[in-house]
């Protein structure tokens, strides 16, 4: 098997990147990127105008120096050789010093201002994209993968920064020189000037070709680097499994293939420049040579003066030089353009779970949850919940029971609005969840999953994630309430112990306890526990369950657990099967009846052995 085909199979069937995109789409994408760029630049309009002014002054001062030196020699020295006072010379020298200082000051102002704009935009872009990623729903993240998120927020953002920092300077200077020189040439001698500008169309066509090609090439670079990043991040995140299962050689193969794709993409764009830059140079040189011969012939026949010809040769050189600068700028622009394309794409994504237009208020949530004709499907014709009606009165503790895939977690996710129902509605205290603003909803509903993700930081930081403004006291009380205080105090630095990367220094059970404390601290009206005690040993679980009795007394709770021990604290049991509720009642009643729950309960008792 060749490396490419295996890479393909590694990417599975759902590869989302397209290498070739139709012309129409390209135009759309470009327009979208430009909109974003304009949007980013708009607040800096004035500064950019100011900058342009500064560049003009700076360049003028810079160009004045050689001119002043010539004046100094031509006009300043002769009086001195005649023994007169060196007044002119001193004036010229002073002027040179003045010009040098002016240039230095404007240059410094320019570099600082341009740098500031670049950094400002970078910060703004980071903020915007980060915030947007956080806004996007889980269904988006499940497909997009964290590697891509990282790639957007690092290498793509950096590409734009580079353009802003280095590009602006060369572009403005180049454009100024280009137009200035063209005007000068035509003024000097219209005839020869026009001749000198003949290759311009060729140059434009050539540039157009380059622009097209390099847009493609840079797009490819961004894509390939993103794949490198995604693979890199995933294998570093899952390094334990990689090492345990001797995945290294295969990973190395995949990485080498991706890395080589990236190399090839880079090579293509570098080769394009390797053709384009000397190409421009060639056109310029040929023009100069042509003008040299034709102009020489004209001068020979006294149709232009020798002085004009000499000036022409000097300026022509200057005329084609900026084209290289411009194309250099084009490089950074292309790479930034490809990055902008991806970033604007992300910013265009709408969260599936959108914020309400007219948010409803929910001043003191009681915690009554109601499902009205709720249908939900991840894939169109495979509904997980075909149609669900359910009311959970405020304060009730409900245990959800059923086999894997029965729809328990889906139901929980609908209440915490990780997803919106395909049909029907979910209500909290009579308000459709879709009418609630996110912070309001999250204050009312909290879900603890089996994942127990811990962030880098201390134990206290992680518990406080439930309520960032909580005092240390409250953090400790939360930990005590669910029985985590003991193990936390035994840690080297107690609550200030670093949990390590993703909580790596804690055991699975400890992570779960911290996650529990976090949820408890958040103090929601509705608490959802999805397999939240699965990693705990029996004594810890017992502690948690005892704590739950008090914790859940005054709030609505939905508990999903395979260990039926949890059911004991429930007021009501719902047995689910294929997305439907097949049994519903207080636990005692269901155990007594000869239904599914009774069967499950028996099986569980046997498992305790």
């Amino acid at each position: 098997m060749t490396v490419t085909t295996t890479t393909q199979s590694w990417r599975g069937v759902a590869a989302e990147d397209k290498d070739e995109i139709p012309e129409k789409v390209t135009v759309l994408l470009r327009a979208r990127s430009r909109r974003l760029l304009r949007d980013l630049l708009r607040p800096h309009r004035r500064t950019i105008a100011l900058l342009t002014g500064i560049i003009v002054v700076s360049n003028a001062a810079g160009l004045a120096i050689p001119y002043l030196v010539a004046v100094g020699i031509d006009a300043g020295i002769p009086p001195m050789t005649r023994g007169e006072a060196p007044r002119t010379l001193l004036v010229v020298v002073a002027a040179i010093l003045g010009a040098a200082v002016a240039q230095a000051l404007t240059r410094q102002a320019f570099l600082k201002l341009a740098g500031r704009i670049g950094q400002d935009i970078l910060l703004e872009l980071r903020r915007r994209v980060f915030d947007h990623f956080q806004r996007l729903s889980l269904s988006f993240h499940e497909k997009y993968t964290s590697g891509r998120v990282i790639s957007r927020l690092t290498s793509d953002v950096e590409a734009i920064a580079e353009m802003l920092q280095s590009g602006f300077d060369s572009l403005v200077t180049a454009v100024l020189t280009l137009f200035g020189t063209a005007a000068l040439l035509l003024l000097l001698d219209l005839h020869l000037g026009l001749v000198a500008l003949i290759p311009l169309p060729v140059l434009l066509v050539f540039t157009r070709w380059f622009r097209r090609q390099s847009a493609l090439a840079y797009r490819r670079t961004r894509e390939t680097v993103a794949l490198v990043i995604v693979h890199f991040v995933e294998s570093m995140t899952g390094i334990r499994a990689v090492q345990a299962f001797r995945r290294e050689p295969r990973n190395q193969e995949i990485f080498a293939a991706l890395n080589d794709d990236y190399r090839a993409a880079n090579a293509r764009s570098m080769r394009l420049i390797a053709v384009f830059m000397p190409g421009v140079k060639l056109i310029g040189n040929l023009t100069v040579a042509g003008v040299l011969m034709y102009g020489g012939w004209l001068a020979f026949h006294q149709e232009v003066s020798v002085g004009v010809l000499a000036a022409f040769l000097l300026y022509l050189r200057q005329f084609y030089e900026p084209m290289q600068e411009i194309s250099q700028f084009y490089n950074t622009l292309q790479s930034a353009g490809a990055a902008l394309e991806k970033l604007s794409g992300v910013l265009e994504e709408e969260p599936d779970v959108a914020d309400p237009l007219r948010p409803a208020a929910l001043p003191a949530p009681r915690g009554e949850v109601r499902f009205e004709g709720v249908r939900f499907a991840y894939v169109e014709d495979r509904p997980i919940l075909p149609g669900l009606d359910l009311t959970v009165p405020a304060g009730q503790t409900v245990a959800l029971v059923g086999a894997t895939g029965a729809g328990k977690t889906t139901l929980a996710k609908l209440i915490s609005r990780f997803y919106d129902p395909t049909e029907g509605r979910v209500l909290l205290d009579g308000v459709d969840l879709r009418d609630l603003e996110e912070p309001v909803l999250r204050r009312a509903v909290v879900m603890v999953t089996q994942e127990n993700f811990l962030f880098t930081g201390t134990v206290a930081d992680n518990i406080r994630f439930g309520r960032p403004d909580a005092a240390m006291d409250e953090v400790r009380r939360a930990a005590e309430a669910i029985g985590a205080h003991e193990f936390i105090s035994a840690l080297p630095q107690g609550y200030d112990t670093e949990v390590g990367k993703r909580g790596g220094r804690m055991s699975a059970g400890q992570r779960q306890l911290i996650a529990f404390a976090r949820a408890f601290l958040a103090d929601p009206a509705v608490l959802i526990l999805d397999e939240a005690t699965s990693s705990l040993d029996v004594p810890s679980e017992r502690l948690v369950q005892r704590a739950l009795r008090t914790i859940l007394a005054d709030r609505t709770a939905l508990i999903i657990a395979h260990r039926l021990s949890t059911v004991e604290i429930a007021d009501r049991v719902l047995v689910m099967e294929q997305g439907r509720i097949v049994e519903d009642g207080p636990p005692q009643e269901l155990i007594g009846a000869e239904g599914r729950f009774a069967g499950l309960h028996r099986a569980w008792l046997e498992s305790l052995a």
């Binding site: 010093l97 995933e234 890395n259 020489g296 020798v306 994942e451 305790l608």
Partner: protein, 564 residues
């Protein structure tokens, strides 16, 4: 570094030669124009005009060609270098032990593998060449100037003193600040990574604002250091432009005086100043190039930091031809950051035997199991398989003998098939089916594309129980002699768990098993139980005996509170 460039020596020579010739052609080209104006045009020699014109065409083409050659021949070496270092970095990271990965955020590693390596590439492809060219140009011109009129030449050479002095100071500050910027970029990448992987937790608690603020705080920190870097380089760059211009003014003044006193001809002064003007740009651009050089040095330092980390866990040379799976812990101790986690652990598991490890949350069960495939290394004593210290075994041999199903299964965003065959790539469909049946994970056949369905990163679209079953199938598929189940069944419902346990019994008959367990039902998979307490194994025995004799064990495993 040298070894990375060696294969490209030929191309590099071509590239540098082309660069040199290109510069020469660039210098000659305008001279032809001067010749034309001074020669044929004045003398009216048509033939000379044509021949000089042809020379101009030739040199013009040559210059373009040299630029092309320089750029084209550079592509291979420069990108080859970057790609190979990245490959090597990745390989090295895969070799580094869990301990390293526990300490290093992947964001920091990532910024080394991408941003830093690109910085180095850019410097090698562009900066280095111009650095050398500039230095050559500067020294040549200075020497020419000294020859032309030494007092003024000395003045020009003297102007290098402040430039060098400031450059050195600049470098020191710049290294510090650019290192800081690069590190902060890595930190930011880490934050992004956490916020993306932990998105469910962030959402569940509605902590978008909180996470966002943390991110912005760090982004602003990066902004501040970046701005300090901008300011520093702005000051330095302008300084580099001012000095040659000031020197020029001085030269003009003193030169004019010398001309006045007859020490210098006007023509020489003109030539002198014209040449000096050629110095301004190379000096000014040195600032940019030096900054680039600094950045790539820091980048190289950062990369070497990782590359120089010696993998603590390196495989031995010994192989086992026909492993039986006889596992022994002999006085094993493990310390983490000096804190003892395990001490004096003695445990023997005979071939085909299964032992359950029971202990309270955080008692070191997972650590104990990680010592077998050497995800961690013992700090005292030894672990042996069939009498061989695991540290003497070839790593890939060892890890083929031992397979672990982790409690928190790591799934990758690739097809189900590739996720399962992680440890056993040649597995047939038949073997896959068997393993999936043992793990009760045949649900994968019902996924939209069956085994070829690409599951999201970390298997996010699957339920916890489903992920655990896939991880179990993965371990079973590897057909290891020693199978480690680290609380692998915790997220399964009772019925499924019973089915899995039934199937596992068959698998465990063929293999040596270590089962980390919280539940009596799982413990019953084992022939004997080891109780881990206070960092060591206090009791080994049969479940029922321990239940009766050891209060601590009873406390841990007594039936969960049953509905009254």
């Amino acid at each position: 570094m040298k070894s990375y460039l060696r294969p490209y020596a030929g191309k590099l020579v071509v590239s540098w030669l082309a660069a040199l010739l290109g510069v020469c052609a660039g210098i000659v080209f305008p001279l032809i124009g001067k010749e034309v104006v001074d020669g044929p045009v004045r003398s009216g020699d048509e033939g000379a005009l044509v021949s000089l014109g042809l020379v101009a065409f030739g040199v013009g083409v040559a210059e373009a060609l040299m630029i092309f050659l320089r750029r084209w021949s550079q592509v291979g070496p420069v990108l080859g270098l970057e790609t190979r270092i990245r490959d090597d970095l990745y390989a090295h990271l895969q070799r580094l032990p869990m301990r390293f990965h526990g300490e290093w955020q992947s964001g920091q590693l990532l910024s080394r593998a991408t941003t830093d390596l690109s910085t180095i590439r850019r410097f090698l492809g562009f900066g280095l060449l111009f650095l050398v060219m500039n230095v050559i140009q500067l020294t040549t011109v200075t020497v020419v100037l000294l020859n032309m009129y030494w007092p003024l030449g000395l003045l020009v050479a003297g102007s290098a003193v402040p430039i060098i002095w400031v450059s050195l100071r600049f470098e020191k500050q710049y290294i510090k600040i650019s290192r800081q910027v690069q590190d902060e970029q890595g930190d930011l990448a880490t934050l992004v990574e956490e916020s993306a992987i932990g998105i469910r937790t962030v959402k569940a608690f509605g902590r978008r604002r909180h996470v966002y603020e943390t991110f912005v705080k760090n982004a602003e920190k990066l902004y501040d250091s970046s701005m300090r870097r901008v300011d520093l380089s702005a000051r330095f760059f302008t300084f580099l432009e001012v000095i040659p211009n000031f020197t020029l003014a001085l030269v003009l003044l003193l030169g004019a005086l010398a001309v006045g006193t007859g020490g210098l001809t006007l023509g020489t002064l003109v030539a002198f100043t014209t040449l000096m003007l050629q110095l301004v740009w190379p000096i000014a651009s040195m600032g940019y190039i030096l900054a680039m050089a600094q950045e790539s040095m820091t980048a190289a330092d950062r990369v070497m930091e990782v590359m120089d980390t010696v993998p603590e866990i390196r495989g031995g040379t010994r192989t086992i031809d026909d492993p039986r799976g006889h596992l022994r812990f002999e006085g094993v101790g493990f310390r983490f950051d000096g804190k003892p986690v395990l001490r004096d652990v003695w445990l023997e598991v005979r071939p085909g035997e299964t032992v359950a490890v029971v202990g309270a949350t955080g008692s070191g069960k997972t650590t104990l199991t990680a010592l077998v495939p050497r995800l961690l290394d013992v700090t005292e004593g030894r672990v042996t398989i069939d009498g061989h210290d695991v540290r003497d075994l070839d790593l890939s041999v060892l890890r083929a003998v031992v397979a672990t199903a982790f409690e928190e299964p790591t799934l990758f965003s690739m097809s189900v098939r590739e996720n399962l065959t992680l440890g056993h790539r040649q597995a047939t469909d038949e073997e896959l089916r068997e393993a999936l049946e043992v793990a009760q994970a045949t649900f994968v056949y019902d996924l939209p594309w069956g085994l070829d369905t690409r599951i999201g990163e970390q298997g996010m679209s699957l339920s916890g129980g489903q992920r655990q079953r896939l991880a179990l199938a993965r371990a079973v598929l590897a057909k290891p002699k020693i199978l480690v189940l680290d609380d692998t069944l915790s997220a399964l419902d009772v019925e499924t768990e019973a089915l899995v346990e039934e199937a596992l019994r068959h698998v465990l008959r063929e293999a040596t098993g270590i089962v980390v367990a919280h539940r009596a039902s799982t413990v019953l998979l084992a022939d004997k139980v080891a109780l881990l307490s206070g960092g060591t194994i206090t009791h080994v025995g049969r479940h029922h005996d321990l239940l009766e004799e050891v209060p601590e064990y009873r406390e841990l495993l007594a039936a969960e509170e049953v509905l009254a």
